[in-house]
């Protein structure tokens, strides 16, 4: 139930005093309440949960995280380490396979 879906704000309007947005989720548009994101602007990406925008998705942080994840692989390569050999192959553990 805590699912949050990222979408792009396409339009903002006032509905009886409540700020509402039309948000595009990869082709599907839905009405979303902006009461908790009053500073949102058209073009912003937001995380939507049960019809409410709960946060703005920060592009710079998203890129930073991806960059960090990429750099971990590069770092291991640069150090000349063979990650899988150090601690054994990533084993298919437990479970069903």
């Amino acid at each position: 139930m805590c699912l949050g879906v990222p979408g792009r704000i396409e339009a903002i309007r006032d509905e009886q005093g409540t700020p509402m947005a039309s948000v595009d989720f990869g082709g599907i548009r839905k009405d979303v309440c902006l009461a908790y994101l009053p500073e949102a602007e058209v073009g912003d990406y937001t995380l939507v949960h049960v019809g409410f925008a709960i946060t703005r998705i920060d592009e710079a942080s998203a890129l930073e995280t991806l960059e960090l994840i990429r750099s971990i692989g590069n770092l291991a390569e640069e150090l000349g380490e063979e990650p899988a050999d150090l601690a054994g192959d990533p084993v298919v553990g437990g479970g069903g396979t």
């Binding site: 805590c2 990222p6 409540t18 949960h49 709960i54 994840i69 553990g93």
Partner: protein, 369 residues
Amino acid sequence: MKYLDEFNDPELAAQQFEEIARIVTRPWALMEVCGGQTHSIVRNGIDQLLPEQVRLIHGPGCPVCVTPLETIDKALAIAARDDTIFCSFGDMLRVPGSHHDLFQIRSAGGDVRVVYSPLDAVRIAAEHPDKEVVFFGIGFETTAPANAMTVVEAKRRGLTNFSMLVSHVLVPPAIAAIASSPDTQVNAYLAAGHVNTVMGTAEYEPLVERFKVPIVVTGFEPLDVLEGIRRALLQLEQGRAEVENAYPRAVKAGGNPAAQAVLAEVFEVCDRPWRGIGVIPASGWRLSERYRDFDAEDRFEVTDLHVEESPLCRSGEVLQGLIKPNECEQFGITCTPRKPLGATMVSSEGACAAYYQYRRLALQEEVRA
């Protein structure tokens, strides 16, 4: 789709697995608190691709699953009334009460409606002034702002026929309850990222201090989950216990102040029983004095309940991470999503539902082998 595809990149995921294998030297158990993360982990086979020394324990972060049976029975009694339209998130409809579920109330003629947003329930109340409209307000801190706004809206519009049956639960007291249990095996926690989107990260500092366990705020896509796992393991291997944010694109340290302001006005902290676990002190929210008029429990006197939990269901142990779903004798045999014994088999965040949906064929193979 933007912000989804990038965090599903299989090549980067493979790198993450390699890095995790490189840093792990000892056995560790991590708990992903949120049921949404459990589903991401099981769907993507993340637990099966981790080094054998790393064990994931599925946590209680499924609001549908932990809503007390007594509250479900009250919901069923209210939903069965002739003068009532009962609105709920879809997840709740198949959750077994003591004797039946909301689907059965609906097929017997009850007006039970699934809403996508809680605001839909307010709209329904405005359209049906001759009916009592009751919304089943459940959820963790992620959902609470939406539910709170529903009550604020109803009050603003002067709707006297709207009320909410409230069963809100909070993550930090649940972590504290698990961490203080003498049986706990959890070395570190992956905190439920969307809860932190609303509440920020400050509440977790005292837990880290008190229990000396790493808590890493974690997102939901495969790379997010792996990054949470990697950081938690790195802390454990280095002997650190800190609050870390591995989901910064959605979580700010201060959370969402606009949401927190409304939460503080609409709700107050209360003790709350969790289904299958028991009462956890100060682990829930109920409507504050100002909004008590909208409390469905006060509005509808529901007595004569005969609360009766299935003696076969072991969802309490599943929710506490004491057993895996497939270790329950009833799993997939007497208990299926169509005929569930407990809520963990039907909720989209329930661990039993995840294992049934993504693992049951493999598990059957294993039994045969």
